[in-house]
Symmetry: none
Subunit: 208 residues, 4 copies
Amino acid sequence: MSGRGGALSSGKGLETPTRRASAIRDYAKEAIIQATAEVFSTRGENASMAEIAEVSGVARATLYRYFPNRERLLDALMDSALADLKKGICQADLESVELGDAIARLTRVLFALSDKYIYLVRSHVGKDRIKEFRLAVRPVLERFISAQRQGLIRQDIPADICFNFYLGVTRSAFGMLFEGGDLLEDMVSQVTRFVLSALATVELDGDH
Amino acid sequence: MSGRGGALSSGKGLETPTRRASAIRDYAKEAIIQATAEVFSTRGENASMAEIAEVSGVARATLYRYFPNRERLLDALMDSALADLKKGICQADLESVELGDAIARLTRVLFALSDKYIYLVRSHVGKDRIKEFRLAVRPVLERFISAQRQGLIRQDIPADICFNFYLGVTRSAFGMLFEGGDLLEDMVSQVTRFVLSALATVELDGDH
Amino acid sequence: MSGRGGALSSGKGLETPTRRASAIRDYAKEAIIQATAEVFSTRGENASMAEIAEVSGVARATLYRYFPNRERLLDALMDSALADLKKGICQADLESVELGDAIARLTRVLFALSDKYIYLVRSHVGKDRIKEFRLAVRPVLERFISAQRQGLIRQDIPADICFNFYLGVTRSAFGMLFEGGDLLEDMVSQVTRFVLSALATVELDGDH
Amino acid sequence: MSGRGGALSSGKGLETPTRRASAIRDYAKEAIIQATAEVFSTRGENASMAEIAEVSGVARATLYRYFPNRERLLDALMDSALADLKKGICQADLESVELGDAIARLTRVLFALSDKYIYLVRSHVGKDRIKEFRLAVRPVLERFISAQRQGLIRQDIPADICFNFYLGVTRSAFGMLFEGGDLLEDMVSQVTRFVLSALATVELDGDH
DNA sequence: GATGAATGAGCGTTCATTCAT
DNA sequence: AATGAATGAACGCTCATTCAT
């Protein structure tokens, strides 16, 4: 509300109470979301709202002031995860490197994300969220597509399917990582090599 | 359970009441499990025990006589799924074909399984179940291992990791299949080709 | 439910489960109502449902199984009070005695009732309840009416108003009784004498 | 309260800021009290503090600056009612008329009061308030007492009890008035006649 | 001093799980 | 053995009261 004028008047440095309050509110929300992430990775994703409130350092009633119900809180957590993902992808500067490195870097980003939001990885995410996720990783998918057009990778499997396969590999990789025993960079390397081999142009001869 | 009576009367060589009762019990259990599977695919995996009981045609409390709690019921469902898996793998006669075909066949089996137990695919499965799953698919893992030993597939990534990557690919594939648009056999073929390429022996030259 | 046949079939001793269950349920309800009355006179009428449940020896959830909400519980308490009132009036055998004694006896009944349900006396009772109360005390009102017709009591104030005035006197009397210091029978006597004097036929001479 | 400032500036003998502030404060309090009375007669006596605040035109929290809690607000409302009562009694000039008229006049005052503060009539008033009420109506009680001493009214029932009985009658009368159908002056007259008859000296002969 | 936000307690509900018959 | 009822934990919500600005 009263959002439009924001950019214009900000030069004056005249933070209105309303705006400040809203900022505070956003800050609190963010804090709660982080606390939720923490609780979830500790107590599991069926932690009670009371637990979340407690860790957030806030009364249960207050929690409900910020998020009308559990689902909405989860949504916000999702949004947060997606924001992290976007930021991670952005910082990874995927466009400037060749495909192999792009894959390696995205894998690292996904690992980091998964590490923070394991429960999300496991959890049943609404269709709209999936769309948003796809949108976020779209840049890399585009790389697959153009690489395919240029004949740099195999053409007998649609690029988007290849990309999904890659994501599946990463997911499995994170599973192993999470269970322990493997080193992150090793795993990144293995994923990358595995996928690159899988994508390599093939001489048509098999019948599988 | 109540095993003692059984042993004593087994000398008669005939269906004792105890044994018959036990059989009936097993039958009821199986019926409940099937009902559960049905409810889950209808209402989703968070269907209430009440719903399950209703579809099973028993009272809620009776449900609990068969399965002490929700988790155990889920476990039983798992066991059922694992049994299906084992049977499927067995019928697939994986040993008699070469690796590529073995992968294709296992993929088909997993697709069929996933189709029946989608909710399981998505759901957070206990560690012990995962072990059992691994045990069931172990034969194929063995194929990976021996193929690696024989130098038939790449050696720079441990066979078990390769196998897990393959499973990840299959999972993603099923996801796409489930969302619709792709043909089962096409997908089997794509998974197989993708993985086979990924597994192909590589000349050591990259640095990823 | 299925109430009518009760007396008839009870000879057979064939208490069906349903009927028995219903009886148990009624019994439990009654117990809860009594507990509520107790809690209310102890902790006041704003005692929490939790307190009521505790004193009832029942879990809060169970309390809600019997009474869907606080209001309904209060209603039931009311009904109970009214039943007590009716029973008290019935046992008082008001018809067989002359008006003065009838008043004295009704006063005693009302005192006893008020003692058990003080909070009700003080509390804001719905219109329908008031109707029921009036219905219960109607017999005595009828005595007022017929006495008036017979010229036994004053005729310059409608009988129903006189009766209401009497109730007001009783209420005040109970108030004093409750605060302590006065003896029950003294108070009954005083109320009766006061009202009887007030009701006595008057020679028309005043101008108030 | 906050007396320090007051003492210092009181030398000037004029409206100090503190004093003025205090006056403003009192004015606001009075406004809130009136608003409360209004809300109560509209929404009933369990109107929320939010409603009261809204009608008062202040924020909920501000309401609490004036009255630390709901009870205190109710108390203030009481005080207001008692003030009205005292004023009414004062204006009624009860001392100058004979007992019958005094009763009639007090009844009118009480009716007017009840009309304005119905919720109070019905509500559970703290003991201290009752004391104040009694103090306010004490003059009439004194009349009862002296009349009894002089042998003008019955002596077999203590004067204070008679007085309370009278109040009970008035209360009932107001109840009927409030429900409608009766005229105020008729009711005043009936109350008065009823009570006067009740108070009339009696020849000792009954045994009730 | 006035206010928005926070708090805690209670309400009414659902649901997995347990009890008693 | 099967069942209706009981239980406890959590949810989502309202409201009187308190806090921090």
